[in-house]
């Protein structure tokens, strides 16, 4: 029992107690300097009338729900290609994997420079093919797609490695058996690879979406800060500004509980969906 004591104390003090007390803080108005003042559900009412709240929710869904599936698709395609016998495959693996290990702050600054409207590489390349320059991260219509494009650079590598390892785990005998039955490569992919890989895809979809809420904080904070015109103001940035710039601790905590609820619902939905399309070995519902 003593053995888990240090970890358990840490868990209680820094995870469990903050989690529980969040429910209390969410019912107060608290600017840190003074004492918390009990306001009941006022924070949640305020949310219902807060235009920025809705905006940030929709931004989060638009960014995370396009970036994460897109990242996973590209990662899967790359993993399939890198699982083939081609010369220099290890070099390719390194090239595709390394950007994912770039410290996020450094990557953010690099992309901010690449998308610089006046001197950035992106516009230089556009000019080379005779296209007019774009304002990228500074254009309200283009900022969100640009962010998604950046996530494709740094977000694909890890999922790709996970998929590669997953592909290795598929018994070769399944491919041989299906080849004897005359299955084409496309059908093999459809009936062997995809079902065998589905637990991994599923797991990475959940984790990917949940962690994207947090992971894109660094990227967006260091590039657009939620602008222009709040077009990239994702939920986590909104909470951060409320808590640590406006010092509305009660409201920010209430907002973070909504995030918690969203994560719970997402996890639940995905588990339900998973029963329909994820194949687990030894499960004949498949």
């Amino acid at each position: 029992m003593l053995c888990i004591a240090p970890w358990f104390i840490g868990f209680v003090v820094f995870t469990a107690i903050p989690m529980v007390s969040a429910f209390g803080i969410a019912l107060t108005k608290w600017d840190i300097i003074g004492n918390p003042e009990f306001v009941g559900l006022a924070n949640f009412q305020k949310m219902a009338n807060d235009r920025i709240f809705y905006k940030s929710l929709s931004n989060t869904f638009l960014i995370s729900f396009s970036a994460v599936p897109l990242n996973l698709t590209v990662a899967l395609v790359l993993a399939l290609a890198l699982n083939q016998k081609v010369r220099g495959v290890n070099l390719y693996r390194t090239v595709y994997f390394l950007p994912s290990q770039m410290p996020l702050v450094a990557a953010s600054l690099l992309w901010l420079w690449i998308f610089n409207p006046d001197f950035g590489l992106a516009n230089i390349l556009l000019a080379m093919v005779g296209l007019p320059p774009l304002k990228w991260l500074f254009d309200p219509d283009l900022a969100r797609p640009t962010i998604v494009l950046i996530t494709l650079w740094g977000g694909v590598g890890t999922a790709m490695m996970v998929f590669l390892a997953g592909l290795q785990g598929i018994p070769q005998s399944l491919y041989e058996a299906s080849a004897i039955d005359g299955a084409s490569r496309v059908r093999q992919f459809q009936h062997v690879t995809l079902p065998m890989l589905s637990p991994v895809i599923f797991f990475n979809l959940i984790i990917g979406i949940i962690s994207s809420f947090q992971a894109y904080f660094t990227l967006i904070y260091n590039t657009t800060r939620g602008g222009p015109a709040n077009e990239t103001l994702i939920y986590i940035i909104f909470i951060f500004f409320k808590a640590f710039q406006d010092f509305e601790m009660g409201y920010a905590t209430a907002l973070s509980l909504v995030l918690f609820a969203v994560v719970l619902v997402l996890t639940g939905i995905q588990f339900l969906l998973a029963r329909r399309w994820v194949y687990y070995e030894g499960d004949d519902r498949a």
């Binding site: 029992m1 003593l2 053995c3 888990i4 104390i9 840490g10 868990f11 003090v13 820094f14 995870t15 903050p18 989690m19 007390s21 803080i25 290609a81 890198l82 699982n83 083939q84 016998k85 081609v86 495959v89 390719y92 693996r93 090239v95 595709y96 390394l98 950007p99 410290p103 996020l104 702050v105 450094a106 953010s108 600054l109 690099l110 420079w113 001197f119 590489l121 650079w153 890890t158 999922a159 490695m161 590669l164 390892a165 997953g166 290795q168 491919y175 991994v200 599923f202 797991f203 949940i210 809420f213 947090q214 904080f217 660094t218 904070y221 920010a252 905590t253 973070s256 918690f260 719970l264």
Partner: protein, 295 residues
């Protein structure tokens, strides 16, 4: 596991000399695809390096100099001094080293206990640990911040070290538990007969056998602290206490925008991670794969 250990299956068991013309066309197509794709992944690195070596103002010339002329290595020295980068690096090292050493030991102890010892509520507590993996960090960050505020520990390293050291990485606990489960139980029993207690068994028997898991957890923790942005941003305010991540971010807002210096600083931040990757590739990749494949 290294990048190359993720082996390549033989193409449907067909021996190489018999590869048909169709197979060769296929492999060529894959090559072209991989080559074109890699442009998107390499060019930003190239752009970062070439910008970091340009003289002041020359990063703004049009058309751009693809290869800087002259090459200004001095940018790196300048980037490290114009902002106190070495101070930031030292802060980052202190936080990373302390939190990693203590955190890895504590979570291996907990993982060992979850795998090997029997105590009431063990499985329930372990499920709580797993459930906390799903918890968005922001939910606990605000109450935690308020606690450290009451303790007047804002603007110290304590909030960045202590929570992680004690309870931070639920994933590491999970990793060690899974690993400890694979160690034969007879070893514990033999030690127990010889009169060793739980701590002795952990320290002298299990810990040395868990070396691969230790390496993986250490690397994951080092990367986490090296890159961590949100928590240092919330907790550290005095410029001299900043970590590299926030130091680099403030490069942009507090100093003249000199993109060549900024890219030099960004390169400096990347280099230690690259070294870690090439030195310990095996555990590096393993950690990433393990955290993504347990579905």
């Amino acid at each position: 596991m290294t990048l190359s250990d993720v082996a390549t299956p033989s193409s449907l068991g067909m021996p190489a000399p018999l590869r048909s013309r169709r197979d060769r066309v296929r492999s060529g197509a894959i090559h072209v695809f991989l080559l074109l794709g890699s442009v998107f992944y390499i060019v930003p690195f190239f752009w970062m390096l070439t910008t970091s070596l340009k003289g002041s103002g020359r990063e703004l010339t049009m058309p751009p100099e693809w290869i800087p002329d002259p090459i200004v290595w001095g940018n790196y020295a300048k980037a490290l001094t114009v902002v106190p980068m070495l101070q930031f690096a030292q802060n980052t090292l202190v936080i990373t080293a302390t939190a990693t050493v203590v955190g890895v030991l504590m979570s291996s102890l907990a993982g060992f206990a979850f795998a090997r010892l029997r105590f009431p509520g063990r499985d329930q507590i372990f499920s709580l640990c797993l459930a906390s993996l799903m918890l968005p960090g922001m939910v606990t960050l605000i109450p935690e911040f308020l606690v450290f505020k009451q303790l007047s520990m804002i603007d110290t390293f304590v909030p960045l070290i202590v929570p992680w050291s004690l309870g931070g990485s639920a994933f590491a606990v999970f990793l060690f538990r899974q690993y400890a489960l694979t160690v034969p139980l007879e070893l514990d029993e033999a030690a127990r007969v010889d009169g060793a207690g739980a701590f002795r068994i952990w320290w002298t028997i299990i810990l040395p056998l868990m070396r691969p898991a230790l390496a993986t957890a250490t690397i994951l923790s080092v990367i986490h602290h090296w890159n961590d942005f949100l928590r240092p941003l919330v907790y550290l305010h005095t410029p001299a206490k900043r970590t590299l991540a926030i130091g680099l971010a403030l490069f942009k807002s507090e100093y003249l925008v000199e993109w060549n210096l900024m890219m030099a600083a960004a390169t400096c931040m990347l280099i230690p991670i690259m070294i870690l990757f090439f030195v310990a590739q095996r555990y590096f990749v393993q950690g990433i794969v393990m955290s993504g494949i347990k579905g």
